[in-house]
Amino acid sequence: MKTYLPRRLLAALLAAVAVSALIFVLVRLAPGDAVTMWVGQEGTMTPEVRDTLRTMFGLSEPIPAQYARWLGNAVRGNLGYSFRSRLPVASLLGSALPITVELTALAMLLAVAIALPLGIISAVKRDTPADVLARLLGLVGFSMPSFWLAVLLVLGSATYFKWLPALLYVSLAKSPVENLKQMLMPAVSLGLPLMAVLMRMTRSTMLDVLGQDYVRTARAKGVSVRATLWRHALRNALIPIVTVLGIQLGRLLGGAVIVEQIFGVPGVGTALVAAIFQRDYPMVQGTVLVMGLLFIAVQCLVDLSYAYIDPRVRYG
């Protein structure tokens, strides 16, 4: 573990640098350079002004030098300034990121809270109507686009409760109750597909584990069904489940972009879509980078959690 931790962190750091390079290249695919973007396609300028601006933006340097400078600034927390609001990208993201983290965390929590018991029941009561029902839910939930579910939830609540989710966002700090009320529907729409994936994974790994000798031994020596399931079976089934959870975060972040949009949640996804439409490239760069970093961080946590879940896991 002592040597593993620094190595894993180094790998995460390298991944972060590589992602930043990918994003840097990505934004340079856009037609026109930063000067034309900044002034706007419609604006005209004399060659002298353009050259001055290019030097100002550092565009006269070679691309690797530009990247090095951008990366250097990014590491120090300077992600540039939004073309539109002229505010620092970092501070705009600083207010959007916690909201997206809250939303995805809630979605994960909901998904795990439903998927684990359902998956276990489905595995234990295999081939019974309960199992068939749970698996059907899994298959349907897996194919349910989260943004359609979001639209349906809005539609349902508008039709049956004559209530529409408020579009004016209330922060968690200001009013936790109001905030959670607002976040519930987005979290449900985002969490259902994840729930389905986790449920299927829980069911299949539990089935695998339940066939093991140590489960039979535990039951034979008189451990109760409940204790066998939770302490012996689930614990051993947890590693693949946690792995899937980590991988699915990518899907969750992608889904959050649309779901945030639908419910007017001012997270990173909303910021990304707005930035794309406004051709605000520093913001695009910043939002994609932040999502990539979040994903890398969670992957890292997942890898480190293995030793906690299963003490037999030794990192060498």
Binding site: L22, S143, P145, F147, W148, T159, S204, I262, V284
Partner: protein, 288 residues
């Protein structure tokens, strides 16, 4: 005790019936896919109206003339759904086709040559994995500028890493087999070995992955079009229908329900079909 079931006498019989049931699901999926393909191919004959023809009154509910009603501009919703199937399939099949060629090629090369080549290719794929595919697709579509071609390219690019990974693993195994070394000893060129000996051994997992990837591609296209970054009006796409339809909740709920239902059915179809293919083509992956 019976609660914690340990596979007993009934295990074998259960196994067989489960296999049957899973094939049933696969067959169901294949049937949905087939219907979708037929609808897309014969859209011109099947759709009752021109998808862009305007009727009155706008937003009218389902009726005998317009089975699923009219949208905000007075276009027939059923006709647009039918043509939407064409867009959905066109985008998903071409993008995944492209991704199979590029990703499959990269995976084969990485797996077959191994070493530095493998390392370089797979590390690049890893980096692409790190950005959530839908986010990457949004960024690509937004930066290059939304159009049908952009959507296809964006989806192809974001699915390449998955395809490459799935191809690489079996290619790596096949490379070590005796028939490959004997082919090499017989003087066969690399290209011939890869095409004649390695490729046939990776097609199984590849077909499974491609089927599931099509489902994902359909979702990405719909998501992009929903946001206005994908298929542009007046072309009908389930995603852009849903995106505009949600503004009319309370006035014409069908506009938010029907395109989503079509979308889900299509995704379900490809996912089920993928499940079925997995059982038939890739017995090692057969889930319990």
């Amino acid at each position: 005790m019976s609660a914690v079931g340990i596979v007993g006498r009934r295990g074998a019989r259960r196994g067989r019936s489960r296999l049957l049931r899973r094939h049933l699901i696969g067959a169901l999926g294949a049937a949905v896919v087939l219907v979708m393909v037929l609808v897309a191919v014969f859209a011109g004959w099947l759709s009752p109206y021109n998808p862009n023809a305007l009727f009155d009154p706008r937003l009218s509910p389902p009726s005998a003339q317009h089975v699923l009603g009219l949208d905000q501009l007075g276009r027939d919703v059923l006709s647009r759904l039918i043509f939407g199937a064409r867009v959905s399939l066109l985008v998903s099949l071409t993008s995944i086709g492209l991704s199979l060629v590029v990703g499959g090629g990269l995976g084969l090369v990485a797996g077959y040559y191994g070493g530095v080549v493998d390392n370089v290719i797979m590390r690049v794929m890893d980096v692409m994995f790190t950005v959530p595919s839908f986010v990457l697709a949004i960024a690509l579509a937004g930066i290059i500028g939304p159009s049908l071609t952009t959507v296809i390219l964006a989806i192809a690019i974001v699915t390449v890493p998955t395809i490459a990974r799935v191809t690489r693993a079996p290619a790596l195994t096949v490379r070590e087999t005796e028939f490959v070394s004997s082919a090499r000893a017989a003087g066969a060129a690399d290209l011939r070995i890869v095409v004649r000996h390695v490729l046939p051994n990776v097609t199984g997992p590849l077909i499974v992955q491609a089927t599931v990837a099509i489902a994902d591609a359909i979702l990405i296209e719909a998501g992009l079009s929903f946001l206005g970054l994908g298929v542009q009006p007046p072309y009908a796409s389930w995603g852009n229908m849903l995106g505009t339809g949600r503004s009319y909740i309370g006035l014409a709920n069908g506009l938010s329900v029907f395109p989503g239902a079509a979308l889900m059915l299509a995704v379900l179809g490809f996912n089920f079909a993928g499940d079925g293919f997995r059982d038939v083509l890739d017995p090692q992956l057969r889930g319990p």
